[in-house]
């Protein structure tokens, strides 16, 4: 069962997730090293692979606000983290869906580091505290992109349908 590795507050900006000074690094394969670069401890744990894939980062409201930089998504995706938050900022939410970062909107989510969370389709259960938080489903239109395996696969299919060519 996934464990909570860190708990952050409201309005966690993409400047905090991926500081602007690393924005010249763009490739998804290269961005994971700078995740939470200004949080030395968390960054070190991620880089040293002390955090198992599938671990949960809990945020408050408006997670991922601010800059549209996609590195903030690819850096978390690179560590295969799952983000559970009360709400997400629009561009970050869309970038996450496009790149396949798993995000779960669970209003009011409360958890402490080390808690075990069960991620059900319609609820997040904090097994440690025994509390259950209903999940707000993603917009249907966005779910279609997830089901296609991300935006690159989704667009590739459209492109081939429109311009011809092989289905990849």
């Amino acid at each position: 069962m996934p464990r909570v590795v860190t708990v952050l507050g409201d309005d966690i900006s993409t400047d905090v997730i991926y500081p602007g000074r690393y924005m010249a690094t763009v490739l998804p394969s290269e961005t994971p090293q700078f995740a939470f670069a200004d949080h030395a401890e968390l960054n070190a744990k991620l880089k040293q692979k002390q955090i198992p894939p599938g671990s949960v980062l809990v945020g408050g409201r408006n997670f991922g606000c601010g800059s549209s930089r996609e590195q903030a998504t690819s850096t978390l995706k690179g560590h295969e983290l799952v983000i559970v938050a009360s709400s997400f900022a629009r561009i970050f939410l869309q970038n996450s869906i496009n790149l396949g970062l798993r995000i779960v909107t669970a209003p009011g989510i409360e958890a402490a580091v080390g808690d075990e969370l069960e991620l059900e389709a319609d609820a997040v259960v904090n097994v440690t505290s025994g509390k259950r938080y209903p999940v707000v489903p993603l917009p249907v239109a966005r779910q279609a992109i997830i089901d296609a395996g991300g935006l690159i696969a989704f667009t590739k299919k459209r492109l081939v349908a429109e311009r011809g060519g092989a289905a990849g």
Binding site: P19, G20, M23, D38, C65, N95, L151, T155, V160, A166
Partner: protein, 432 residues
């Protein structure tokens, strides 16, 4: 039932008679803008085409704009190499709306786009930058997207699975008091809405104050709507928009103006009277932590920044020059000025503003994003305090997580530069 401006624009762009908030549409894109992050867009664009046997060509290079602004001139070999690759790409793909690192045609993307007449009322504009909301100042529906989404737009020519946002109507009346202006209005509104109060919504501006406001002021308003979470901010186009396009953007033809229907549906209406509005300050570390200037007056400031896509236009520099003419920036306070575009820089030279600022002790840098996002120049030392006319004050925003950033208008920034502490510009008189 009537439609808001956003609903009308998205209906037109989606080939529908009407759209409603909540509809999912695939609007044709009229303008697709990227800056240095075009390097990532290019990578994702090639991924989309990989394995299809199709040649990787964008749907319409005339509708793509690429503007270098985040790190100009390049601060590192890595950035310089990204810029080099992008330069090669725009030549290969025939992208003519390309603004390189130049002292005549360069600048910040959100200033260059309107200045060169690329943005028109009623357009759908997307940009790989969250402050793409700026272009709603000309009556366009303009919103920020990620790099992969932009790659998809380059391939297809339309944005996928866009939800039509519900609209918040903001009606502004009254005349601004002296030393109070659009920046104070938008900070006040963000303070009221909170940083997420307009998430997934559009903000449409109305009222006499907006009608009398210049396009420059409207750009400041729409620019920061994203700080309340808004998908887009829109000032319905009017005579001032036509004037701007004609006189400042060199657009000969008069575009159709998209206005909301009288019976359009709004999720909320907010009334603001600016007649008694005080200068506003967004305090560390969130943009919605807004207070009247008096609440933080006297706070020591290490670095003043005037510039950015929010407040780096000619009228902003005029305010700063007026307050600093014949005066000096306080000792132990640094003042950096970043004009929003090369054209503005040249105009500020002609009008003598640059001389006023430089003689006062300010460092006038080239047009660009500069220190706003801590990637390039003007870094802050540990524990230092900045007072800035930019748009964000998140922890680490200006490159140092132990520093503090206060956001304000050009008048507050300039008045504070003289004293070295946060100062109410109404308490000072002009220089000389």
């Amino acid at each position: 039932m009537g439609m808001t401006v956003a609903e009308k624009i998205l209906a037109r762009a989606s080939g529908r008679a009407a759209t409603r908030a909540g509809d999912v549409v695939e609007p044709a894109v009229d303008l697709a803008m990227s800056h240095e992050n075009a390097a990532l867009v290019m990578n994702q664009f090639r991924e989309i085409f990989a394995g299809t046997g199709l040649e990787a060509r964008p749907w319409d290079p005339k509708k793509i704009a690429v503007i270098f602004d985040h790190r100009v001139p390049a601060e590192s070999p890595k950035t310089a190499t990204n810029q080099k690759r992008i330069r090669e790409f725009v030549v290969l793909q025939g992208i003519e709306r390309f603004h390189d690192v130049r002292g005549d045609t360069g600048g910040i993307c959100h200033q260059v786009l309107p200045e060169y007449g690329y943005v028109r009322p009623g357009q759908v504009v997307v940009g790989t930058d969250s402050h793409t909301t700026s272009h709603g100042a000309l009556g366009a529906f303009a919103f920020g997207i990620g790099a992969t989404e932009m790659a998809s737009v380059w391939a297809l020519g339309y944005a996928l699975n866009i939800e039509v946002p519900a609209t918040i109507r903001v009606v502004v009346e009254g005349d601004f008091p002296p030393h109070v202006g659009p920046k104070d209005l938008i900070l006040h509104l963000i303070g009221r809405l909170t940083a997420q109060g307009a998430n997934f919504r559009c903000i449409e501006f109305h009222g006499g104050t907006i009608r009398r406001m210049s396009t420059s002021g409207r750009l400041t308003l729409c620019n920061m709507t994203v700080e309340a979470g808004a998908t887009a901010g829109i000032v319905p186009a009017d005579d001032e928009t036509l004037r701007y396009l004609r006189e400042e953007a060199g657009v000969a033809e008069a575009p159709a103006l998209v206005t909301p229907d009288a019976d359009a549906t709004y999720v909320e209406t907010i009334h603001i009277d600016v007649g008694k509005l005080e200068p506003q300050i967004a305090c560390p570390h969130t943009v919605d932590n807004v207070k009247p200037v008096g609440a933080v007056a006297g706070q020591r400031v290490d670095q003043i920044v005037i510039g950015s896509c929010t407040n780096g236009r000619l009228d902003d520099l005029a305010i700063a020059a007026e307050l600093l003419r014949g005066r000096k920036v306080a000792p132990r306070t640094r003042m950096l000025v970043f004009p929003a575009s090369a054209r503005i820089y040249a105009e500020a030279l002609d009008k003598g503003y640059v001389a006023d600022l430089v003689r006062a002790g300010a460092v006038v840098m080239n047009a660009g994003c500069g220190p706003c996002l801590g990637v390039h120049e003007g870094a802050l030392g540990d524990g230092e305090v900045a007072l800035s006319t930019t748009n964000r004050n998140f922890k680490g925003r200006m490159g140092n997580p132990t520093a503090e950033v206060y956001l304000c208008s050009p008048a507050v920034a300039a008045a504070s530069a003289v004293t070295g502490v946060i100062t109410d510009p109404r308490s000072t008189t002009g220089g000389h």
